[in-house]
Symmetry: D2
Subunit: 118 residues, 4 copies
């Protein structure tokens, strides 16, 4: 039940409205906030090798930090989509639908990194 | 049913595996890809006033572009969380739980913009 | 004399080498670090109106914070360019050369925001 | 002579003013534009190993793309600083001054990646 993104958006809406903060949550403000959170995520990974990232994910305290940073990105993304009235899960599925056509399995298998799009 | 984030992650997993692309989807690579998508989103909003953003959301073609950009951000975020084995919806709720305590409604109502955190 | 970007790059090179940190300064690591700094800059501006940004720039303490964030972005950008062996000032002038042609003054004056490129 | 950042800023100022574009160059707009350019830079590096980045830098066409992306980031950063009336080269040197104290050479040599700050 807690896996639903719309439920998270509704909770964020309620959280913001009870504090009278929706007035600050314009798409541009939320985009800048999203950028701030993505920056914090990048900073967590900036000096790590892939092996050190794996080790961080196996360490409770470091993993908790990464969970927090990913959560922050999702929170602002969900709030931004909600303030735009956009159903972001539906939009994501529509995008993957197009990518299924754009990158046919038979032509794309294991191909050069520049095609590793989602 | 399509509102479930885990379902999207499973679809992305399947999409990547059928193309043998999971090998490229390390957390650092996906973070750089996420940054690229957030950049495209920021570029859509860079010269617009808040009124022009509202107008763009009311225009079918411009709205579709914003839907796409938000979808791309979600897609890489979901894939990144999945490759880290992190349940971001749960992590987001845990974060909002803490924020409920950190920003009590009575003390936070309509307060200065620097407190408009989620 | 302190206005020269190459001089800053040489100082950063020296700073890193004396600490044996050049080993961590790969282009991808420095890009993630740059993203982190751009995120901090965005966070400074996320809830402000344009008027509040102007007021922040007129306030010594807030201005110092913005100076710091801009400086951090420049530091990682200069270091990244230097580690890539790229002369970024020359590259910027080459880009503006192209933009002079791409956006002729007579056709571009005051035109729609989407053309306000540099 | 072309290595001076202030000269680039003056050129961008002139470029914008002749097109009547300074009106669009608020700090928040330029920050979003900067984010867009950093996103393009990240996208260039997203699927590459460190070895592939080195190979790209040794390939004329790929190197030109990286030069362009770095130039775009510098252009918006220089314009942003200029519109804020901030001397970023001076601010960067002030920051490195502080870092010289914060990270004494003897205590910092080759130390853990999380200290590889500039």
């Amino acid at each position: 039940v807690e896996r639903d993104l719309e439920q998270l958006s509704l909770r964020l809406q309620d959280f913001a409205e009870r504090r009278d903060w929706a007035q600050f949550h314009s798409p541009r403000n939320l985009t800048l906030a999203l950028v701030g959170e993505v920056g914090e995520l990048a900073a967590e990974l900036q000096w790590l090798t892939d092996g050190e990232v794996a080790a961080a994910l196996a360490d409770a305290a470091k993993r908790a930090r990464l969970e927090d940073e990913l959560a922050d990105v999702l929170i602002y993304l969900a709030r931004l989509a909600d303030q735009c009235g956009i159903d972001i899960i539906a939009a994501a599925h529509a995008k993957v639908d197009r990518n299924e056509t754009r990158y046919p399995v038979e032509r794309s298998r294991g191909s050069a990194a520049k095609h590793s799009e989602l």
